[in-house]
Symmetry: D2
C-alpha cells in the first residue's frame, strides 16, 4: 500500500432552493445555495469501494429539501444548525458536518412608494453567508457577507511606505478607495439574534468605511473590524478581506489637459489583497 | 482575388472610466464602459496592409478619456452623441460611428439615514445601457437596461398551450415567474430628458411586471412594452427580452410531505427565451 | 392600443445533451448545447394571453432529446437541419426556425500512446458552432468556431497609422499578436461534407495566422478569410472577428534593465475589436 | 482597544506576465499569473496607519517583473522559490512569503505536421499551479493542476450505499463518470525535476482515471492519488478534489423510446464534491 488516506471528506454542493412563505397579505421570498461536507467513517469507500457507509450525495440533496420544507428559514444560521444536526443525528458514523449557506439577495419591489405584496427585484452581488461546523462535541457558527462593493472618493491617503530600488508608486494624499468586501465573523454563542447581528455588523462596516480617514487599506480594515466587534457583543472574532480595486488617475497631459483627481481608469488586475483577523479582548504586545 | 471584403468595422471595446465630480458639499460618481466601432474607408488596411487611414484603437481610447474630461457625463446619451460626433468630425473618411455605453451602478451610501457626501455602494447586476449610432445623415439613440432580475410569487399562469405527443409540461394556474430583463428603446428624437425618460420607463416596466395577471411570459412582455410606450412619448419602439428563469416545484411525496407551492429549485438551464418588439402606433392586422 | 407588436420570437436555450455511441471496440462521445427560436403566428399569446398556438418551450426541449436519440449526431449541421425541419413540419403556423448548436470539445485520451476506447479529456475554450435558419422557402447553414486563442511572437508590425493630437501609441515592427478568434461561414449548399469542411477551414485559418507577415490585425484577418474561401469551395462567405488581446511591453528602465521584446503584460481590457466579412467573387470597386 | 489583531497578511494578486524566449530557430512562450502574500511585522499599519514597514503592493508587482526578466522561467517552482526568497532577503521584517503561480497553457501550433517556430494555440481550462511557502526556517513546495476535465463512458458503478427514508437515487452498474480534477502535491524536497514530476503525475492520474473499474468517485480518487505517489518518489503527499459532474440519463419513455445508456443531460448543479489526501507510507489502522 503506497499511501495512507490521511484526510477525506465529501458532500453535495450547489443545492439551490427557493422558499415562498404565503401570508394572507404578503409573500416572503428566500433563496439559498447549500453545500454540505461530511467527515466520518468513510475510508472503506475510498480504499475498497465498499459503499455500505456512504450517504449518497443525492440523498444529502433530498435531506436539504425535506428540512427546507419543515424549517422556517427565517435565518441562515438556524437552518444550518438544523441541517448539520440532522446528519450527525441520522448517521452515527458521521463525525463532522460542515454546512455552508449562501443567500441570493431579493428585495421587495415598491410600486408608487408602497411595498408590493409579491413582487421582488434581485439584489446586487452582495450575498449573505453562513458556515455551521458541527461535531458531536462542538458547534461553530460563522456568519458573513461577500461581494459588497464599496467606494469612497476622498479621505484615503497612502504614503510613508518603504522606498527602495523597486518602488515606483507615487505617494498620494487623496485617492479613490474601492473594495469588494468579504467579511466573516464567529459567534461565541449558539443562540443569538442572527438577523439582528448581521444587520448591525453590516451597518457598522459600512459606516466605518465611509467615515474613516484612511492612511491605508490595512488601517481602514482594522477600524472596521474593531468597530464590528464593539457593536455586536455576541461576536468573538471577525475576519475581513479587502482587495484594493484600483482606480488609476488618467494622464491627460499629452492632450494639454489637467486632471484634478477627476478622471480614473478602474482596473481589475493586478490588485492588492489585504486581510486581517481581529479577536475580542486586548493584547498589549500586538495591540500596541 | 478569391474574395470581396463586403463588410468591415473595427474599434475599441471595454474602455472603462470613473469620473468624480467634486461639489463643495458632495461628490458625484459615474462609472462607464465604452465600446466604439467605426465604419468607413478602411479597405486598404485589410487588403494591402496600408494603415494610412487607420485610426489606431489606442487613439480611440485616448479620445474617450479626453471627452470624458470635457463633457459633464450627466447622462450616457449625451456623452455617446459627443463621442460619435467627434469621430465623424475629426476623420472625414469615417462613415459611421457606433458608440455603446454601459454604466456600472453605484448608489450613495446612507449613514444613520443621511446620504453620505462621498461614499458609495455598488449596485446590482442591473446596468444602464445606451447605443448611439451616427452617420453623416442620421442619428439613432437607443437606451436601455440589462441584468434586471425580477420575480413574482403569484399571478402567473401558463395553460392552454399545444398538447401533442412531445408535451409533458403540466399546466399551472399559479407558478413563480422570474426573469432577467433586457430592455432597449429607440427614441424618435435627438434631444430628450434622457435621465427622466430612463427612470420613467424603468419604473413602468417594474410596475407592470408586478401588477400583471400573467397568462404567459409573452403576454406580460407585451403589456410591459406597451405601457412603456404609453408612459414616455419620446420613445418610438421598445424591445424586451425575457428569459424564463425557471423555479421548479420540488417533489416531496417520496418523503411523505406535501408542497403547497412553497419550495422550488431554481435552475439556470435550460431556459425559455421570449422576445418582442413593440412600435408606437396601431396596426389592426397585427394588433388584433 | 398604444403599440404594434412588430417582431416576436421565442424558444428554448441551453438545452444540453451528451450522446454516447457504443461501438464494440470503442465509444464515441458528443456533447452539445442547443438553442431554438421560432417565429410564426404567435401574436395572440402576446396580445391576448391566448396560448392555443404556443409550443411550450419545455416541449421544444423534449423534441431536442427525441431527435438526439434518433439522429446520428455525427455533425452539428445535419442535426440542426433535422431539428429545424421538425418544427416547420410539426407546426404549420411556424414560419421560421433558427437552431443554434454549440459543441463542447472532448478529445479521446491516449494512454501510453494508444487511444483509449472510452476515456476522454475536455478540450479548450474553442467550441464548434452551427446556426441553421429555416423557413418554408429557404435554408441557411452557417458553421463556425469561437473561443480559439491564437498568439504569435513575431512577424506582426503596426505602423503608418494616423498621427494626430490624440495619438500616443508608438509604432512597432515586432509585436506580439494574440487574438480569440470567432469565425462563421455560410455555405452555398445544403449538403456538404460538414466535418471535412470544418476541419479544412479551421486548419487554413491557423496556417495563415501563423505564416502571415502582419501589417495589422485587419490585414491578417482578410488574409485568413480569403484563404478559407479558397480552401473550401462550398463556402460562400466568411466573417471573422478578432479582438486584439494586447500584450504590453513591460518598462524595466526604472530598475536599470532592458527589455528586448521579452517580457509583456497581458491585459484583458481595453481591447481592439476587428471584424470583416469576405464573400466569394471579385469586386474591383471594393477589392481594389 | 476592543480587539486584538490576531492575524494579518497582504500582497498583490493577478500579476500577469508573458515571457518570450527568442532562440534563433524557435521561440518559447510562457504565460503566468502571480499572487504574493506576505506576513511579518505589519501590525503598525493596521493599528496606527504607520506605513513605514509596508512594502507597497505596487512594489511587489515591480519585483515580479524584475525577477521574471532575470530568471529563466523554465518551471513554476524555481520561479516561485526565487520570488519568495527575494522578499525574505530584501525585507528583514517579513516572516513568511507565499507565492502562488498559475500557468496559462499555450501549445505550439503545428502546420502541415511541422511544429511552428513562433505560433501558438491556447490550451484548455486546465492550468498548472504551484504554491511556494517560505519562512526563514522552512520551504514548502506544492505543485498541482486545476480545471482538468475528464469523462469516461463506462466502467463506473455506484451501488451498495445507504438506503433510508431520504434515498431516491437508483443504483447503477454503468454510469458516465465526469469530473473537473484539481490536484496538488507536496514535495519532500526542495530540488526536483519539477517539469518531469509534473508530467509524470499528470500522466499517472489520467491513466488510472481511464483504466479504473470504479465503484465510486471516492475509490477512483484514492486509486489515482496512490498511483501518483508510487510514480513520483519526490512527492510526499497528494490531495485530489473531484466534483461529480453529473450526466443524467434522459427519460424517453413518455415518447415511446428506450434509452440504452446513450443520451444524457449534463448538469452543473447540484454536484457531489469528493476530496481526499493520501500521504506516502502505510498505516494499518486507516489503510486497512
Amino acid at each position: 500500500m503506497p499511501g495512507t488516506l490521511t484526510h477525506n471528506a465529501y458532500g453535495k454542493s450547489q443545492v439551490r432552493l427557493t422558499k415562498v412563505i404565503r401570508h394572507p397579505d404578503r409573500h416572503e421570498l428566500k433563496e439559498l445555495d447549500v453545500a454540505i461536507q461530511l467527515e466520518g467513517d468513510f475510508e472503506a469507500s475510498y480504499l475498497r469501494g465498499d459503499n455500505s457507509r456512504v450517504v449518497a450525495t443525492d440523498t444529502m440533496k433530498n435531506i436539504v429539501y425535506v428540512l427546507a420544507r419543515k424549517e422556517p428559514l427565517t435565518d441562515l444560521e438556524s437552518f444550518g444548525k438544523a441541517l448539520g444536526g440532522h446528519f450527525l443525528g441520522q448517521y452515527v458514523h458521521v463525525r463532522a458536518a460542515v454546512v455552508r449557506l449562501t443567500e441570493q439577495p431579493w428585495q421587495r419591489l415598491s410600486v408608487a412608494g408602497v411595498e408590493h405584496p409579491h413582487a421582488f427585484i434581485g439584489g446586487g452581488p452582495e450575498k449573505r453567508t453562513c458556515t455551521v461546523s458541527l461535531t458531536r462535541d462542538q458547534q461553530q457558527i460563522e456568519s458573513g457577507l461577500e461581494g459588497l462593493l464599496l467606494l469612497k472618493t476622498t479621505n484615503s491617503a497612502f504614503r510613508g511606505y518603504i522606498q527602495d530600488q523597486y518602488t515606483t508608486l507615487p505617494e498620494t494624499d487623496d485617492r479613490l478607495l474601492a473594495t469588494e468586501l468579504t467579511a466573516s465573523w464567529q459567534y461565541g454563542t449558539n443562540e443569538a439574534d442572527w438577523n439582528g447581528c448581521h444587520a448591525l455588523i453590516r451597518r457598522t462596516l459600512l459606516e466605518v468605511f465611509a467615515g474613516h480617514r484612511s492612511q491605508s487599506v490595512q488601517q481602514t480594515l482594522y477600524a472596521m473590524a474593531a468597530a464590528a466587534l464593539e457593536a455586536c457583543l455576541a461576536v468573538e472574532e471577525i475576519t475581513l478581506t479587502m482587495p484594493n480595486k484600483h482606480r488609476l488617475l488618467v494622464n491627460l497631459r499629452p492632450f494639454g489637459l489637467d486632471n484634478a483627481n477627476e478622471l480614473f481608469v478602474p482596473i481589475d488586475e493586478p490588485y492588492g489583497l489585504i486581510t486581517g483577523t481581529v479577536r475580542r479582548g486586548g493584547s498589549d504586545s500586538v495591540g500596541e
